[in-house]
C-alpha cells in the first residue's frame, strides 16, 4: 500500500517536471528527450493501474515510435547546437495566465465533484479478453472502430509518403510559381 503511494508520487512528479521542461527548454533536441521521459513515466502510471497491455503500447508506440520520429525530423531540420530565442514577454505572460486560469478552474471543479464508488466488479485484463473485445461485434465489441482506425492509419501512411516524397515534378512546380 505504502509502496504504491510512493510510486504514484514518483511517476507524477516525473511527469510534471519533464512536461514543464519540454515546453520551456530552449534546445529542441533536449525538449524531445524530456518528452520521452514524460511519456515513459505515463506508462508507469498505466502499469500501476494493472493495464499492462496499454503500458506496453505506450512504451513501444509513443516512447519508441513517435519520439524517434520527432528526433529524426529535428536532426533533419536543425543544427544540433541550435538555441531558441526567448518568446516575447507579453506572449509569455498571457499564455501563462491562460494556462493557470484553466488549470485552476479544472482543478476546482475536480475537487468539488462527488465521484461515486463503482458497483460493478472489476474484470481481469488479460490478453485474451482484449483480443476478443477488439475483434468482437456483439456486446463490448470494438470491431468497427478498430477497422476504421486501420483505414485511417493506412491513409495517413500513404499520405505521409506522398507529401514527403522528393518528387521532381512537385519541386519544379514549386519553383515555377515562385520565380
Amino acid at each position: 500500500m505504502e509502496n504504491s503511494v510512493f510510486m504514484f508520487y514518483l511517476f507524477s512528479g516525473t511527469i510534471l517536471f519533464f512536461s514543464v521542461l519540454t515546453v520551456t527548454s530552449r534546445r529542441i533536441l533536449r525538449a524531445a528527450v524530456f518528452l520521452l521521459f514524460a511519456l515513459v513515466a505515463t506508462s508507469g502510471i498505466y502499469f500501476m493501474m494493472n493495464y499492462q497491455f496499454l503500458a506496453g503500447v505506450q512504451l513501444s508506440l509513443y516512447a519508441g515510435g513517435i519520439v524517434v520520429l520527432i528526433i529524426f525530423s529535428i536532426l533533419l531540420t536543425h543544427h544540433i547546437s541550435y538555441k531558441f530565442e526567448r518568446p516575447p514577454f507579453l506572449n509569455l505572460s498571457l499564455s501563462l495566465l491562460v494556462a493557470i486560469t484553466g488549470a485552476g478552474l479544472s482543478i476546482f471543479t475536480l475537487v468539488t465533484f462527488p465521484f461515486q464508488k463503482p458497483e460493478s466488479i472489476p474484470v481481469s485484463v488479460n490478453m485474451q479478453v482484449i483480443g476478443r473485445q477488439l475483434m468482437g461485434t456483439g456486446q463490448n465489441g470494438y470491431a468497427l472502430p478498430f477497422e476504421v482506425i486501420s483505414i485511417l492509419l493506412l491513409a495517413a501512411m500513404v499520405a505521409a509518403i506522398v507529401i514527403a516524397k522528393k518528387g521532381q515534378g512537385n519541386r519544379d512546380k514549386g519553383r515555377g510559381t515562385r520565380d
Partner: protein, 102 residues
C-alpha cells in the same frame, strides 16, 4: 488506494502545460510536441476513469489505444508536412511560413 482526484489533477496540470507550450512556442516541431503532451494527458484521464469508476468494462482502455493510433497517424503526417515546408522555405519557424496569410 490513491484517490481518483490525485490522478486527475496530475493529468490536468500536464494538459495545461501542453496548452502553455502550444501558445508560446514558435517552432512547428515543438508545437507538435506540445500536442503530444495534450493527447497523453487525455489518455491518462480515460484510463483512470475506466479503472476507478467503471472497472467492469474496458471502454477507457480501448479509447486510449485508439488515441495512441490516431496520435501516430497525426505525427507521421505532420512530420511529412514539416519536412516539405522545410524544403520550400528552409525554416520551420511559424513566423517565416506566412505566404498564404494575406
Amino acid at each position: 488506494m490513491i484517490p481518483i482526484t490525485h490522478f486527475l489533477i496530475v493529468s490536468t496540470l500536464m494538459f495545461f502545460t501542453g496548452i502553455y507550450g502550444f501558445l508560446t512556442r514558435r517552432n512547428l516541431i515543438t508545437i507538435l510536441m506540445s500536442i503530444e503532451l495534450i493527447l497523453n494527458s487525455v489518455n491518462i484521464n480515460f484510463v483512470v476513469f475506466n479503472r476507478y469508476l467503471y472497472p467492469g468494462q474496458l471502454q477507457g482502455q480501448f479509447f486510449a489505444l485508439f488515441i495512441v493510433a490516431i496520435a501516430a497517424a497525426e505525427a507521421s503526417v505532420a512530420i511529412a508536412l514539416i519536412i516539405n515546408i522545410y524544403r520550400r522555405f528552409t525554416s520551420i519557424e511559424v513566423d517565416d511560413v506566412d505566404e498564404m496569410k494575406y
